[in-house]
Structure formats: C-alpha cells, structure tokens
C-alpha cells in the first residue's frame, strides 16, 4: 500500500518515509546552458533560486514533508567539489526550512555513473571510477542524507541485445553482468555511507527498463517486451539491498513495487507526475505502492505561474494530499484500486506494475537463488501475468504484441538452467562490448 512500508526509515531533518504518509520528492535540473568554469556561478544561482522557491512553496502548500533530489550532471561528478557545493546549497535551504517552518525534509543526492565514458566501460578502476567515489564521499560530507545512483553495469550489452530482440543477450546483461557490477558497486557505496553516516538509498534500472519503455513508446519494441524487461530488471536492482541498501529506491526505478514487496523498504515512484521528464503508459498505476511521489526532473525555466519546478511541486503536493487523506479516512484500498484499474487495462507495462502483478513477480524471484535464475523467473512470471490477463479478457493485445508474447515465452523457456550454459556463446557474441575484468570474470 502507498505510504506504508514494513521497514520505514527516518532521515535528514526528521523525514519519516513509509511510516504512513506519502511525501513529494522534488527533482529539477538546469535549463539549456553550458556547464563549465565560466557558467559555474550562474549554475549555483539556479540551485540557490530553487532552494528559495522550495522554502516558499513548502509554506504556501502546507507541505507535511518533503524529499529533495539533486541529480548530479556529469561534470559535477567528475569534479567532486562542484557536486558537493550544490549539495551544500540545497542542504542549507532544507535546514532553514526545517528551522523556520518545521518542515520534515531530507536531501537525496545522485552522482552520475560516469564509468561508461570509456567503451567497453571500465567499472572497477580507472579515472572515472575514482572520480565517482570521490563524488559520493564529498556529497555525503556536504550534507546528503541519502545517496543513490543509476548504475550502468551490463547496459553496454543490454542496449545491443534489446535492439536485436536477443533474449539470451538481455538475460546475460540483466542476470549475469549487471548483478555482478551491482554487488561490487554497492558494497563500496554501503561502506562509504556507513563511514559518513548517510543512508544508502537504492539503484535504478533506468538504463535498462526505461530505455526499453522509451523504445516501445517510439514503436521500436513491443510493449510486452518492455514489460518483461521491467520485471527482469528488478533482480539487478535488488542486489543493492542484498549489499545493505535500505532505500528509499530511486523514483525512476519503476521496478520499485517489486523491490518493496521483497525487502519491505520504502520506495520513490513517478508517473503522470513526471510528464515533464518523459511520457509513460503507467501514469496512475505507478503510484499504487509509492512512499515518495516524484516528478523525475524538470528544467528550472519560467512558466506562467512561476518556475517549472514549483509548478510540479504543487502537483506533487496535491497528489500526496489524496494519498494521505485516503489513508486517514480508511479508503486507501478504494483509491489504490482506482489508480491501478485506470491503467492496467490499457497497457501490459501498466499491468506488470499492479500490486498483484508485482507481488507475483516478487515471489517468483524469491523462489530462486542465483541472479541468473531469478532474472529468468521474473521474466517468465511477467509473461504469465500478461497471458492470464489476456485470457481473462482484462487486457487486449494487438495481434503483433500477442505474437511477441508467445515468442518471448518460447525464448525464455529455451534458456539453459544455469548461466554457465550461456557464458561461452555470449562472450563470443558480445565480447567486443564488455571487458570481463569489469565483472570479475
């Protein structure tokens, strides 16, 4: 259920997440401009302006609580001081909001995964890796309450495999490569967070599943394929928790509900509220289990009412009032059902995000132990979730989508029992795209 997580957590200035209330998570980014020494002062002024706006709007909207996310842009990660400077600015404004109007709030900071600046990406060492670690450390020191990342291990193979509809390749990327990188990466992040006494938030399969979602919205891939990749991608995101991450998960990690039902940790989600960042077929259903409700990101540009971030914050605030009023009045089940039923009959991508579906997929995952088998199990369960819905006439698939669903079913059934059965072929097929050392292979 939205707002309630078995393992709620408190962070920042007394912000309780998953303890009953749903709070907005506000995201924002720079307008069209170059980011370099020359423009740096104006970059800072943008974040100062946003900080002031947040204090003003929090008061105007009577916000009961607020999470703010600062997503670093690549140069802010490469140059740790830059990311830290902005982190400090936002931290200062949140502190002030807390002191002045008692706003419970926290700051999530998300450094950029810059390791794929080289191809094949060098994931465990090298300049990018070291810069990234420094960025995490200095942002933590500068006032981050939660640290997250949208990591890319395995993406270099998944991108290619998806485009060619190569299921073996997708599973190899999501079930073999990605989890290996997640394990390495998150052990580092969790240790760093412990040292800095910061909350290790979670990761996002954005580079895998949201890319697929965008591809399908462009008519490049069938929706059923995107839906299956969504489910399968939860396994690699889950690894962060196995390493000690406690959430809240990243807003763009639509796999959140699956993670929530497995780990009990609170999740951030985005749907129609992120129409500024990207379109999606899951605008309402994405909210069904959220603990934080986010807009993903919007440029700090002027609309007719005020700045675009303020306009989206108002939206989030009113949406959150509905979640919380529903809980308060005991009608949360009815409201959740509305959120779910209004989308699940329109798209298989919405269907696999329903509480029911995500619970099924979660159980399928926990039944298995290896990342590889879990990935396959999640995908297979997603397929049968869609199959069942079509049989019960709760979802109508276009002919070609239906054919692809069968094709996917066959391909996933044809996969070997163990990842070993895939290794050789995959290294032959995709060896030119990734470096084994980066995955401890």
């Amino acid at each position: 259920m939205f707002g309630k997580a078995p393992k709620p957590l408190t962070c920042g200035f007394g912000l309780q997440i998953g303890a009953g209330e749903v709070y907005p998570e506000l995201n924002f980014t720079l307008p069209t401009m170059l980011l370099d020494e020359t423009s740096w002062p104006s970059v800072v002024s943008h974040y100062e302006e946003i900080g002031e706006m947040i204090r003003r709007a929090a008061k105007r909207l009577h916000l009961p609580g607020l999470m703010v996310e600062f997503e670093l842009l690549p140069p802010m990660t490469e140059r740790a001081e830059w990311g830290a400077e902005i982190t400090a600015v936002l931290h200062r404004h949140l502190k002030q909001a807390h002191e002045e109007i008692g706003l419970p709030c926290a700051l999530r900071v998300t450094p950029t995964d810059i390791r794929d600046i080289t191809r094949p990406p060098e994931l465990r060492s090298g300049k990018a890796w070291e810069e990234m670690c420094r960025s995490f450390d200095q942002c933590a020191e500068a006032g981050a309450d939660v640290l997250s990342i949208e990591s890319v291990g395995g993406k270099e193979v998944n991108d290619e495999a998806m485009m060619y509809g190569d299921i073996e390749g997708v599973v190899f990327a999501l079930g073999v490569l990605a989890p290996r990188d997640m394990e390495f990466l998150w052990n580092e992040i969790v240790a760093l967070c412990a040292a800095r006494n910061v909350v290790p938030g979670a990761d996002s399969a954005c580079g895998f599943a949201n890319t697929a979602m965008q591809l399908s919205s462009q008519g490049m891939l069938p929706e059923v394929f995107a839906a299956v990749i969504r489910a399968a991608s939860a396994v690699r995101s889950l690894v962060a928790y196995e390493c000690g991450a406690v959430g809240p998960s990243k807003d763009c990690a639509y796999e959140g509900p699956i993670l929530k039902s497995i780990t009990g940790s609170p999740i951030a989600m985005e749907g129609k509220s992120a129409s500024c960042a990207h379109f999606s077929p899951v605008g309402n259903v994405a909210a069904a289990m959220c603990d934080l409700w986010s807009n993903e990101s919007v440029q700090n540009i002027r609309l007719l009412s005020g700045s675009a971030p303020e306009a989206y914050l108002e939206l989030l605030a009113y949406d959150c009032r509905l979640f919380n009023k529903a809980r308060e009045s005991g009608t949360e089940r009815t409201y959740q059902k509305l959120l779910v039923d209004s989308d699940v009959h329109e798209s298989p991508q919405a269907l696999v995000l329903s509480p029911e579906s995500t619970f099924r997929i979660a159980s399928a995952i926990t039944k298995e132990s290896s990342h590889y088998r879990r990935t396959v199990a999640a995908a297979r369960e997603a397929i049968s979730v869609i199959r069942d819905a079509t049989m019960q006439h709760e979802l109508r698939l276009r002919a070609r989508e239906a054919q692809w669903l069968d094709k996917l079913g066959r391909s996933f059934d044809a996969l070997p029992e163990k990842e070993e059965g895939l290794m050789k072929a995959m290294i032959e097929r995709y060896g030119h795209l990734f470096s084994p050392e980066s995955y401890g292979l």
Binding site: L30, T32, L34, L73, G165
Partner: protein
Amino acid sequence: MNELHELAQLLEQGQRQRVAALTQELLGKGVGPQTILNEGLIAGMAVVGEKMRGGEMYLPEVLQAASAMHASLGILKPHLLRAGAKPLGRILMGTVKGDMHDIGKNLVGIMLQGAGFEIVDLGLNVPPQKFIEAINAHSPSIVGMSAMLTTTMLNMKTTIDAIAAAGLRSNVKVIVGGAPVSQKFADEIGADGYARDAVLAVDKVKQLLDTAAWSMPTERLTD
C-alpha cells in the same frame, strides 16, 4: 514477375540466406540488377516500412530484413555500378562532448544503415575536434549529432561553429536530435535538420540529400 515478389517476401521475413540465393538465381536468369533492386528489395523494404509504422513490425524484425537486404545488395553492387547507379552518401554519427546517452544515436545509425547509408560512428562524448578530423578522414555528406542533456546540447552549436571555422561547413549537412532538442533549437544553432525519432531521421536525411538509385523508398518507409 512473381519471383521478384517472392524475393520481396523473403526479404520481409528477414531470410538472409534465401534472399542472397534468389538474388544470384535472378541475375543468372538475366534479370537486370535495377529491376531486382526496385521490384524486389525496394518493394520488400517498402512493406517493412509500412508495417513498422503500423506497429506490425518492430526494430528486431526490421534489422533482420535490413541485413537480408544488405546481403542481396552486396551481390548486386558490382552489377549496379556497371549499370551506372551510385551508392548513397556516408553519414557521420556521434553523441556530443559530455554526453554518454548513446542508444538514441545508435538507433538512428542502425536505421540509416538499414536505409542503405554508410555509417561512421564516432561513439559518445565526442569533442568538436574529433568531428572535424572525421570529416576530413571520411568526407561524409551528413554529420549527425546527438545530445540528451540540456547541458550538452549547446555543444552541438560549438561543434557546428568549429566545423565552420575549419572551413568544412559547406561540405556537410548537419542534423541533430535528442530528448531536449527541438526544431526551434536546431534552427537557432544553424543545423540543417532535426528529427524526433530514428524513423523520421531517415526521412530527414533522404530529404537533405535527395538520394538516388540504391535508396529504399523511405518516403514510403515512413509515411
């Protein structure tokens, strides 16, 4: 002539081997390469295009069909050359400096390849200088730049200006794209074209160099 129709169908099904074989067979029978191209390959890819637009075919299938077409084209090429047809232009693709979003750029490249163009992919995080060197090295007719960040899109302008400064602007047409990019922005930075997605990108390229002989009829492919 129903063997040509068969060729078109095999192509649509992405049957690389059988398309190649049938191409040989037809040539053997003395069917003109231009005829095979137009009534076989082009006709087939036209159907592919329509089906993709209608959501009846997806990228993986299109890529299969494209590879079958390339198998056949490989065989026809010498004959076509003798017949005086000229190949399509060469296209330089790259994600601009500071940006690591590359799948969009890759996709555009693949679709263009499918349309019979030759692609030189400079990868991601590509500085202006590298574009310039590549223009000198490959003398492409088109340079395509991708940017997905509001903080990198202006590097497209930087690059266009650098190309101009290097005296190469008149040698190439520049097309741009990416999530934060718009036609308005493309005009502002002096690009020659913009497209919202890979399919429209192919249209745009065809339009910029009104291509001849070997082209798939992407007008159809994408209408």
